[in-house]
């Protein structure tokens, strides 16, 4: 065949433009744009920004304006926190930020959930690309845009953003946005984060960025549609107003700067802040040792069933480049909600640096901009458009921990540190999500702020703090449960009491978590759900010889009304999960344990649901722990004397807790010898331990060992290539159970003559 005849004619530039115009004009659906969604770096410096920097680049002026914009953001943040109706708003699950005219986040509020604003640049860039020049939409002074669909750039669609453009003399100079974890969004379960979602259509309201405000007024028709789509219509209205007014306050602060210093000074400040942070991050990375660090974190459930889901992380630093390679992580689940879009993972990795490694840097998009991320397509950390992701936090948080664990191993030898080397922080949202009809007749759906009470990891020089802060916000509150109880028909009968022996031991131990026991009281239409992993496998790794946390189940007591018990026989009540479950003090009650993925369950008055917040990881060899600190842990109810003596090899008087230091040192020396005796050399160990494939008794997802190109999909003989997507369906857990029971009936010959 003649080669010439098969080669298509190369179109001319004119023809190419015509083709592009044709395609643009006939686009049937403006879905998430991969060009926007896969890129987290800063947009190129524009000519306008360049000219502005040519006029204003004095460091003092830039610092002055940056501080003013920063305090404007903080003011907006305070407004949302004080006035917001969502429980999340009251505890700081909120953020405000100022974005460049091209859409990059330049400055965010000092408090709040940075990951929110680190993702809002995506919807802003969507608005710039698609709505700015569209005659049916347009972007004008006084406009406001709403957005929540994570596929266009968000953590999950329970977070809603209000985005407004800022104009000066008719020219766009920047954007302002405010984001809140709202809770309700009309999904198949109340509270905004359904773990039962099997497709994006189960996840409730899916707002691509659209205009909802004109002339600074919320459009009532659209508002009514949104209210009609969620379970908390009043909350929807109130928080849209609150976010809009917070944005307008920040706008006012920006206008003050525009009037005093001019638009060039503002635009130069935003651009230079980002460029300087980006350059400083490159410099700091270059101080790390050139090295590859490997880590993995296991998710032990999809929230529907227990299985083994790997988050694989290889972190490589060469010169001033830092590359997170998450290839080998689990394939996406086609019908489970624990997938995340890759932007969510990146936003959370940015928090590793801005919250735990370089908290001195201005909070914005630039700190993560030069860091590279590699993932497999259609994987649990880079899921497709068609995969549900309402429980993306599971993969975002375990991805964060893999990153935090790997980063710590680079930092130890760095001469210049900005924080202490830090073991992983607890990473699961062990809290109650709740919903139904309240004692006041209101339909509600939201959660207890106890998710913010994650235990901190130990550091190189001290113990982790208890119930400190969520990994996604270092300065969030756990709220006032008593205030909450005025609105909701349940009580936390035990709250903020440390869960004894749920420990992460080490030379420095992890900060511990506390017990929560809830029981519905004043509603027949009220229920709970829990959405966390880690009831079979800890979701952390320890650092430098320290241990991770243990595991955390859900315990239930049914067929009891504890309010009757408290009224009639209060002496029967116990104040720890340990005592209630082991002593079973309520006669004829039903006591059971479960993994932490409880789908929404209606509760009866006085039934107990009991969980614990988790501990951060430990640091260093536990035999080096100061005996006095061990005794302090016993006195504070963190660890029982028996467990302390057995693990830490500390010898003390059982009655007085007086330490016998000589005996302790001898016991520790003996334990070091015992370790040497019971351990085997590495080469010998791996001969017996290493297996070529995942064990058949586990449903295992992700790569095995060094072969990151092969992803297992639930069994040793079902795989896909990392770069070649395949569907990955899970059976309904009830169907699995029915099949098990039918097999047993069949084996017992008890199926009768049922026709098939």
């Amino acid at each position: 065949m003649n080669e010439m005849s098969t080669r298509a004619k190369t179109p001319t530039l004119e023809e190419m433009n015509l083709i592009k115009k044709f395609l643009d004009d006939t686009t049937l659906f403006l879905g998430p744009d991969p060009e926007i969604m896969q890129n987290h770096d800063l947009m190129p410096r524009t000519e306008i920004e360049d000219a502005a920097i040519g006029k204003v680049s004095d460091a003092h002026t830039v610092a002055k304006i940056r501080d003013r914009i920063q305090s404007g953001c903080d003011e907006g943040y305070e407004m949302v926190e004080q006035m917001g109706a969502a429980p999340g708003a009251k505890w700081g699950d909120v953020i405000t930020g100022v974005y460049s005219a091209s859409g990059d986040l330049a400055i965010a509020s000092a408090g709040g959930v940075l990951i929110f604003s680190a993702l809002v640049h995506h919807p802003i860039k969507f608005i710039i690309k698609n709505w700015m020049d569209d005659p049916t939409v347009g972007v004008k002074d006084g406009d406001g845009f709403i957005h929540n669909d994570s596929r266009y750039g968000n953590v999950h669609n329970t977070d809603q953003s209000m985005i407004i453009p800022i104009f000066h003399k008719g020219k766009l100079v920047c954007w302002v946005a405010s984001t809140v974890h709202e809770g309700e969004n009309g999904a198949i379960e109340p509270g905004g984060m359904p773990s039962m979602a099997e497709s994006p259509s189960d996840e409730g309201l899916k707002m691509s960025p659209f205009k909802v405000v004109e002339n600074y007024q919320i459009k009532r028709d659209i508002l009514t549609f949104l209210q009609n789509s969620v379970r908390e219509p009043k909350l929807q209205y109130e928080d849209m107003k609150v976010k809009l007014f917070a944005c307008l306050r920040i706008k006012q602060r920006i206008e003050e700067t525009l009037n005093s210093d001019g638009p060039e000074a503002l635009m130069a400040t935003l651009r230079l802040t980002m460029e300087q942070v980006r350059a400083e991050v490159k410099r700091r990375i270059s101080e790390w040792p050139d090295m590859t660090v490997r880590s993995y974190i296991i998710q032990d459930s999809t929230l529907r069933e227990n299985c083994v889901v790997k988050i694989n992380c290889k972190l490589t630093k060469t010169g001033d480049r830092l590359i997170f390679d998450f290839r080998g992580s689990s394939p996406e689940f086609t019908n489970r909600a624990t997938n995340t879009i890759v932007a969510g993972l990146k936003g959370m990795l940015a928090q590793v640096f801005l919250c735990y490694v370089w908290p001195d840097l201005p909070r914005g998009q630039a700190a993560f901009a030069p860091i590279e991320v590699i993932t497999d397509p259609h994987s649990i950390v880079n899921c497709s458009y068609d995969a549900p992701n309402s429980q993306s936090l599971m993969s975002i948080f375990t991805g964060f921990t893999a990153g935090q664990h790997a980063v710590a191993k680079f930092l130890y030898s760095c001469p210049e540190k900005f924080t202490r080397v830090h073991a992983p922080t607890f990473n699961m949202i062990n809290t109650f999500i709740w919903g139904g009809v309240s004692q006041h007749g209101e339909t509600l759906g939201n959660l207890c702020a106890d998710l913010n009470g994650m235990g901190a990891g130990a550091t190189a020089s001290r113990d982790g703090e208890h119930a400190l802060a969520p990994i996604f916000a270092t300065m969030a509150d756990i709220g006032e449960q008593e205030l909450n109880e005025e609105e909701v028909p349940f009580l936390q009968l035990v709250s903020k009491k440390m869960t004894r022996d749920a420990i992460a031991p080490g030379k420095y131990r992890g900060g511990q978590g506390y017990t929560m026991m809830v029981a519905t009281k004043d509603s027949e239409q009220w229920g709970f759900m829990t959405t966390a992993q880690g009831a079979k496998i800890p979701p952390l790794q320890g650092l430098f010889g320290g241990y991770a946390c243990g595991t955390y189940p859900l315990s239930k007591v049914k067929d009891v009304d504890v309010y009757d018990v408290l009224m009639n026989e209060p002496e029967r009540f116990r104040h720890s999960i340990e005592e209630i479950m082991n002593e079973q003090p309520f006669e004829d009650a039903d006591y059971s344990t479960h993994h932490m993925g409880m789908g929404f369950e209606i509760s009866k008055r006085g039934e107990l649901f009991m969980i614990s917040q988790g501990a951060g990881a430990g640091y260093g060899d536990l035999l080096e722990r100061d005996p006095e600190n061990i005794i302090k842990d016993i006195e504070e109810g963190l660890i029982s004397p028996e467990v302390a003596a057995r693990l830490y090899k500390v010898v003390f008087d059982a009655a007085t807790l007086a330490i016998d230091f000589d005996a302790s040192e001898a016991a520790r020396a003996e334990e070091r010898q015992a370790r040497i005796k019971r351990s085997v050399p590495y080469a010998e160990f791996v001969k017996g331990w290493n297996k070529p494939k995942p064990p058949a008794h586990l449903q295992y997802f992700g790569c095995w060992g060094d072969d990151v190109g092969t992803l297992y999909m639930g069994a040793p003989d079902i795989t896909r290539r990392g770069d070649q997507p395949r569907p990955n369906y899970m059976m309904h857990p009830k169907d699995v159970r029915i099949a098990e029971l039918e097999a047993r009936l069949e084996a017992a010959g008890a199926m009768g003559d049922e026709k098939k």
Binding site: P289, D290, M291, T292, V293, R294, K310, T318, K409, Y412, S413, P415, R500, A502, K507, K536, I537, P538, L540, Q541, G542, F544, G545, G546, Y547, A548, G550, T551, Y552, P553, S555, I577, E578, M581, Y591, S592, T593, H595, G620, D621, E624, F661, E665, R672, Q673, R675, I676, R678, S679, V680, Y682, F685, W689, N690, K691, P694, P695, L698, W704, D706
Partner: protein, 132 residues
Amino acid sequence: MKIPMTEYLRIDLETEKWECRVCDHVIAPAGGNYKEGLLVHNRDPREIHPPIIDPDKYRFTFSPDPEWVRILEFCCPSCGTQVETEYAIPGHPPLWDMQVDVAALKAQWAARGPAALPDAGPVVMPERGHSH
């Protein structure tokens, strides 16, 4: 120059070896996996994270499931210090967690000089109770 790389490990740039910071034991070549010079113990996770509720009565007890996860404990063969732990799926090959570019490390520290070494020295057990 000896560079402290973790709480218990350092790299001697001259000999290009991983060493124990507690007892000075030479563990493995610096360009390789330090775990190869350590001892390993396959720990039942229930021993470290004790059941809080009765394992005879309940499926979930606050203890990790030993069929699902094990703790690999790596210790120095000379002094018994626990250098690293790894929570591992049964049979999963242990990770080569720190793969160092030794030539780059040497160049980096040649430029820096020993004055920049981080000051966290080896751990010493506090002496107490003997103030006769």
